[in-house]
């Protein structure tokens, strides 16, 4: 079952996941893909900010933070699934 990164952050699920797709074709989704959130990339939830949002993810060796409004656009599944 695919979930979004926002669900993953809500569940504080720190397992290694793989990006299935980034929904939308607008400039925003393109930018998310350009910074590395694109299909096939491994991604891992690290922590939420003290106030609950945004959340920090590990992506291609770097720590990236996304608000949940963006995290909702990124669908993920278990790595290797």
């Amino acid at each position: 079952m695919d979930r979004t990164l926002a669900d993953v952050a809500d569940a504080s699920d720190g397992r290694l996941l793989e990006i299935a797709e980034v929904t939308g074709t607008d400039a925003d989704s393109r930018r998310l893909r350009e910074i590395g959130f694109c299909a096939g990339a491994p991604v891992r939830f690290i922590r939420r900010a003290p106030l609950g949002d945004p959340a920090m993810y590990e992506l291609r060796g770097a720590l990236m933070s996304l608000r949940r409004s963006e995290a909702r656009r990124i669908r993920v599944h278990r790595a290797g699934a």
Binding site: R31, R33, R60, G61
Partner: protein
């Protein structure tokens, strides 16, 4: 399907060559630029420090003459969304009336190579010769990672050198390489990547390239993880942060005061010496009172400025600033802005001018304008002398809790007041005037890095020089003009009166006094007299001029060694009455917290927004708010019996 990649002729070389430094934010570009050119452009451990292109000549010792380097703002791709990204792309495509660069140094962080390569492919797609600087080799090794630059070079088909920019390792090799971009013939590896059309294709290509290299990916940065667990903890993290801030403002009073008293004694001694040795002419008095005492009153705050910037630069260099943006992003979301706006606001605590420049990283024009309009509320370093002088004079130094006194807490409160005003006004603007959707927010969080003391020291030195230069130019000029306005028209000395009394008479009848009295209807509700009014008008040139004004007015009051603060508070037995009641002093502090009193800020707002409309608007609404809040403070404080 293959596209033909345009390759610009690489021979014969046209000199001088121009080489652009391209890379993701925080990959180490500015550090390399500085190492190659010998410049000292500001680098910092958070994205968005460089927002404009900056040029410098490659140092001769690398073997070539007349090679120019262009440092660019960090970009993730060549499809720009924000102003700083546009600058980078325009340089590469040949904008600003210049030809495209003769080559590109692609800066790639060795700990996140996969993220750095796609950009190189895009640059190669523009037909530009590319070489690669692999930075942060030291961090890669520390995290047990490994890569052979030679092997990457073979896979990409372009020269690759490993460097540790901030320690100068590998810089000689890079310098030699940069001296001859005409030899960088792109091989098939990179050209293959250049054909990729989508981000997916480019990242896929990057993984292929890396997959073909024998390499060891670095382990997670354990120190960063541990520190984050602590500093980003909801309870502990906030407590640590608040304690740190309060402690810092307390230190400004307790630690910096001895150094300040020393400087203050020096200035007074110098002024007295001049009055005692030179013949008593108007020029002597201008020199002693207008120049030495006026400008000196500002210079004595150098220790506090140094302390402030040591802390700010440390926080920037260690990687905490980006975390602060991460923590506060939620609050920024409530007011309708994003974390990057917060980074721009943070820079404004040093000075609103670079802060407003830093808004170039904000992609949404409305968010950017909102941030520009509220950035001057951030408590810039020019407010510090005024705050410290008034607090030391009118707020008791009684301890409140542990090492904290009312003085330190008042200063802390003023910083929060500025921040609150910025956030609230932003919320108002975003709900009304500048309503609009928020763009996606992404922020890369760099690892924590232990700053090198020499880097911080150099940075602080630069800021101290800037402060002294301000004192020697704009504040000096304002101080001299004020001296004339405070001492003209001349009047014959009355032999019945003492020197001090005569001086008071001159001041009371001066042009400045008349001007100050003219303003009394405006500021009478807060009980400001003409002396404060003159200071308020004069500080329109620069906030510190307030201090210089008061120093001149009080030049001949009081005993030897009595500081300006003591005089303002009134010396009790038979001496001058206090300049202000405590309620008025609080009102004045609040006025300074909110008022727009800085020509350079107005000028930069005009430049960044392209017209007079927004600077005029900022001036009007900030000063209006300042007046209202000062009045409210006065009323409340008077009611409370202050």
């Amino acid at each position: 399907m293959t596209t033909l990649v345009r390759l610009r002729p690489t021979t014969p070389p046209r000199r001088p060559g121009r080489i652009a430094i391209l890379g993701a934010p925080n990959s180490g570009k500015t550090t390399l630029f500085n190492a190659l050119t010998g410049h000292r452009a500001k680098a910092g451990n958070y994205p968005g420090v460089t927002v404009d292109r900056r040029e410098g000549d490659l140092q001769r010792r690398f073997g070539a003459d007349g090679v120019r380097l262009v440092d660019l703002p960090g970009v993730y791709s060549l499809e720009p969304q924000s102003e700083d990204e546009t600058v980078a792309v325009r340089v590469l495509e040949g904008g600003f009336g210049e030809a495209p660069p003769d080559g590109v140094v692609g800066v790639v962080d060795a700990t996140t190579i996969e993220r750095g390569l796609p950009l190189l492919a895009e640059a190669a797609g523009l037909g530009l010769p590319v070489c690669v600087a692999l930075t942060m080799i030291d961090e890669l090794k520390a995290r047990h990672g490994e890569i052979d630059p030679k092997e990457l070079q073979d896979r990409l088909g372009v020269p690759v050198v490993g460097v540790v920019g901030n320690r100068g390792l590998g810089i000689d090799d890079l310098g030699a390489l940069v001296s001859s971009p005409w030899d960088w013939t792109p091989g098939p590896g990179l050209l293959h990547g250049a054909e990729a059309k989508t981000p997916e294709d480019r990242f896929g290509w990057a993984r292929e390239v890396l997959g073909a290299c024998r390499r060891q990916a670095p382990e997670p940065n354990r120190w960063t993880r541990r520190l984050d667990r602590f500093l980003l903890h909801p309870a502990i993290g906030s407590a640590v942060f608040l304690a740190f801030v309060a402690f810092f403002f307390q230190a400004i009073f307790t630690w910096a005061t001895p150094a300040m008293d020393f400087l203050s004694g020096l200035m007074d001694g110098l002024a007295d010496q001049i009055l005692a040795t030179l013949p008593d002419t108007a020029f002597t008095r201008l020199l002693a009172d207008g120049v030495i005492r006026g400008v000196g009153a500002v210079i004595v705050f150098l220790p506090q400025i140094v302390l402030l910037f040591t802390v700010i630069l440390f926080l920037e260099a260690c990687g905490y600033m980006a975390r602060a943006a991460f923590v506060v992003d939620r609050v920024m979301g409530w007011v309708g802005l994003e974390g990057r706006c917060f980074i721009a606001l943070l820079s404004s605590y040093a000075c609103a001018v670079p802060g407003i420049m830093a808004t170039r990283t904000i992609p949404s024009p409305r968010d950017r304008l909102t941030t520009i309009l509220v950035a001057p509320f951030a408590t810039c370093s020019a407010r510090l002398p005024v705050y410290i002088l008034l607090i030391a004079a009118f707020i008791p130094a009684d301890p409140v809790l542990g090492p904290f006194t009312w003085q330190g807490l008042t200063l802390t409160g003023l910083y929060f007041l500025g921040t609150g005003a910025a956030l609230l006004s932003a919320a108002v603007f975003k709900r009304g005037l500048l309503r609009g959707a928020t763009l996606p927010f992404y922020l890369e969080l760099p690892p924590y890095r232990l700053p090198r003391p020499s880097d911080i020291a150099l940075g602080v030195w630069d800021r101290a020089k800037l402060f002294l230069r301000r004192a020697g130019t704009i504040i000096l000029a304002a101080s001299v003009v004020l001296w004339f306005l405070l001492n003209l028209p001349r009047r014959p000395a009355d032999p019945q009166l003492s020197v001090t009394e005569n001086q008071r008479a001159v001041l009371e009848g001066s042009y400045a006094a008349s001007a100050g009295r003219l303003l009394e209807p405006v500021f009478a509700p807060m009980d400001f007299d003409w002396r404060i009014n003159v200071g308020l008008v004069a500080s329109q040139a620069a906030r510190e001029v307030m201090v210089a004004t008061l120093a001149q007015i009080y030049a001949h009051e009081g005993e030897d060694g009595e500081g300006l603060g003591v005089l303002l508070a009134g010396s009790g037995e038979g001496g001058a009455p206090p300049l202000l009641s405590r309620a008025s002093a609080l009102a004045l502090l609040v006025y300074f917290a909110f008022a727009m009193q800085c020509m350079s800020t107005l000028a930069v707002i005009r430049r960044e927004t392209g017209g007079w409309r927004w600077p005029v608007f900022t001036f009007a609404y900030m000063n209006g708010l300042a007046w209202l809040s000062a009045w409210l403070t006065f009323v409340l404080a008077s009611a409370a019996g202050a």
